[in-house]
């Protein structure tokens, strides 16, 4: 096992040891959303013409869980290590900025996919949507988790207190996920808000992910792939740069 693989392994073990909090709890939360929104809206909303609302909701909730947990993993691990001071054990090692990036983003992807699978399995008892093109689904899940993992890395490096971390999560990540079409198709929005949603990269992640289930989406999956890929590259470049210069971790 090389250096970055050991760090990846440690990061996975870190969240797994508190699995109730990091895996089981987000699955339960998603199931509650499903029960409540599904119950209230099932008979009132039809999406893409023929898809039932509950079936439509499943991929949205799965992807939302993937994204939020991927972000939470790298960001909370880093900010905790910084505050506890044990980040020094990593800072003293020969691990390169690439190793840090691979390990932190990799473990975020693992947690995202694990929670996502959990949500999918739990909600499939309530409404199992078709899985027309699973390749697209998996691709968008991995890309989205990686992007949020990298974003979490940036936030973890930047934040000096839990308060700042919470601000980043609640004022940036939460609104961007909620306003990306988790609970609705953006075609149901007035034109202005539709236009605004098109500026949100999270919208493309969820739309592309959903395409894998229904073979129908608000925009072409190829367009989504291009935008999500580009966003991932940009965020990764920033994260790697910050790690290289030791932003806020090396004096």
């Amino acid at each position: 096992m090389s250096g970055w693989q050991m760090l990846l392994y440690k990061e996975v073990l870190r969240f797994w040891k508190v699995g109730f909090q990091t895996v089981a709890a987000p699955v339960l939360t998603a199931v509650l959303y499903m029960l409540i929104f599904g119950h209230v809206l099932e008979d009132h909303v039809k999406v893409f013409g023929q898809v039932s609302y509950t079936a439509f909701l499943v991929p949205g909730l799965v992807m939302m869980s993937v994204l939020q947990n991927a972000f939470a993993n790298s960001s909370s691990s880093l900010v905790q290590s910084k505050i506890m001071g044990n980040l020094v054990f990593l800072l003293l090692t020969p691990l390169s900025h690439w190793s840090w990036f691979l390990a932190y983003v990799g473990s975020s992807v693992v947690r995202g996919l694990l929670v996502g699978s959990g949500v999918l399995m739990a909600t499939s008892f309530l409404a199992m949507p078709a899985l027309v093109a699973p390749g697209w689904t998996l691709l968008f899940a991995v890309l989205g988790a990686a992007m949020l993992g990298a974003l979490g890395l940036i936030a973890g490096l930047w934040a000096e207190k839990f308060d700042q971390m919470a601000a980043f999560q609640n004022f940036i990540i939460m609104p961007m996920t909620f306003l990306s079409g988790v609970f609705y198709s953006i075609h149901s929005l007035p034109p202005f808000w539709q236009g605004l949603s098109h500026l949100n990269p999270f919208f493309y992640m969820i739309d592309g992910f959903r395409y894998g289930f229904f073979g129908v989406s608000d925009v072409s999956p190829w367009l989504s792939l291009g935008i999500v890929g580009a966003a991932l590259l940009i965020v990764s470049a920033i994260a790697i740069h910050l790690l290289r210069i030791g932003y806020k971790i090396r004096g």
């Binding site: 250096g3 506890m84 003293l92 691990l95 004096g251």
Partner: protein, 305 residues
């Protein structure tokens, strides 16, 4: 080739944003070498720049100017090379609460690319008296035990150069002895040791050479024996229950009842005793001893103020 070479190292911390404070010059043109196999002591009062210097050596911080080499490799340009050669025990008592002792040591080995390290990990645990704590979570350990784990973590990759930043702060006598026996053994086997400590008896007992820092500058650099030989005075030591007259109090080092005065000649000793008698004070346990490292330290720090 020196094990460690500090070359004109300076470090300036910018003034805090929004504050009225000035930029702080923590290190000012620090230069000295530590040879292979030396047991080297870096001494100085709090805030002298010892930890800053070690942070730059370890790559935790960057020098504002100058450079640091470890066995000929630059700590910035070839950081992977130098960090593999360094084993650093940090000053702060930090730990990862998610894992037990053995896990922490395995991870640390892995970060350095060391595989199948359990034999050496077991030897470390044994030598540091941690064998029965291998599977204990880090949170359950006492402060002294956590300190031992820090030492073990620094040594998992068998570094040729060991850096200990105040390793015995708040540590009981037994552990100090275990620790020093172990470090001395490693030093005999050829490891270079760089130590900072506030316990000057420890430095005197262990280090072959010393650098003293004050306000970011090197104010003394010498072998231990030269340093002690060059001490300008002996020490008059006695115990007393009352307050000293001002003439004596100005020169004395006072620890509770114990008073120590630098004595350059028999005449000076007479003067001190006369002063005591005239003040009507009664001193007990009077003795004259050779100056030790603490006297030299106070002398050097006082002379440069």
């Amino acid at each position: 080739m020196p094990a460690i070479s500090f070359q004109s190292v300076s470090k300036t911390f910018p003034a805090a944003r929004g504050g009225t404070g000035q930029a702080l010059k923590a290190l000012d043109d620090v230069s000295f070498d530590i040879e292979e196999g030396e047991f080297f002591g870096l001494l100085g009062p709090n805030g002298a720049g010892k930890t800053t210097l070690i942070s730059i050596l370890a790559g935790l911080s960057r020098a504002s100017s100058g450079r640091v080499l470890v066995q000929g490799h630059d700590v910035q340009l070839e950081y992977a090379e130098t960090r593999r050669r360094l084993g650093v025990v940090p000053q702060e008592l930090v730990f990862d609460p998610f894992f037990n002792v053995r896990e922490a040591l395995r991870f640390q080995s892995g970060y350095f690319g060391v595989k199948h390290n359990d034999a050496w990990i077991d030897e470390l645990l044994d030598s540091l008296g941690l064998a029965d704590k291998a599977n204990a979570n880090m949170r359950q350990l006492s402060g002294g035990m956590k300190r031992r784990v820090l030492v073990a973590q620094a040594l998992v990759h068998k570094p040729p150069v060991i850096v200990l930043d105040e390793p015995t702060a708040g540590v009981d006598v037994e552990l100090r002895q275990t620790l020093w026996q172990f470090i001395a053994r490693l030093n005999k086997q050829g490891h270079t040791v760089l130590l900072t400590t506030h316990y000057l008896e420890e430095a005197e007992a262990l280090c072959s050479r010393i650098a003293m820092l004050k306000q970011g500058r090197v104010v003394a650099l010498s072998t231990m024996s030269d340093l002690l030989k060059g001490a300008s005075s002996n020490v008059l030591r006695f115990k007393i229950d009352s307050t000293l007259p001002p003439f004596l109090a100005g020169k004395a080092r006072i620890t509770g009842r114990i008073v120590q005065l630098p004595a350059h000649s028999a005449h000076e000793v007479e003067q001190y005793l006369t002063a005591l008698r005239e003040a009507g004070l009664h001193a007990e346990d009077i003795e004259i001893r050779k100056a030790d490292l603490e006297d030299v330290f106070l002398d050097v720090m006082g002379a440069n103020s």
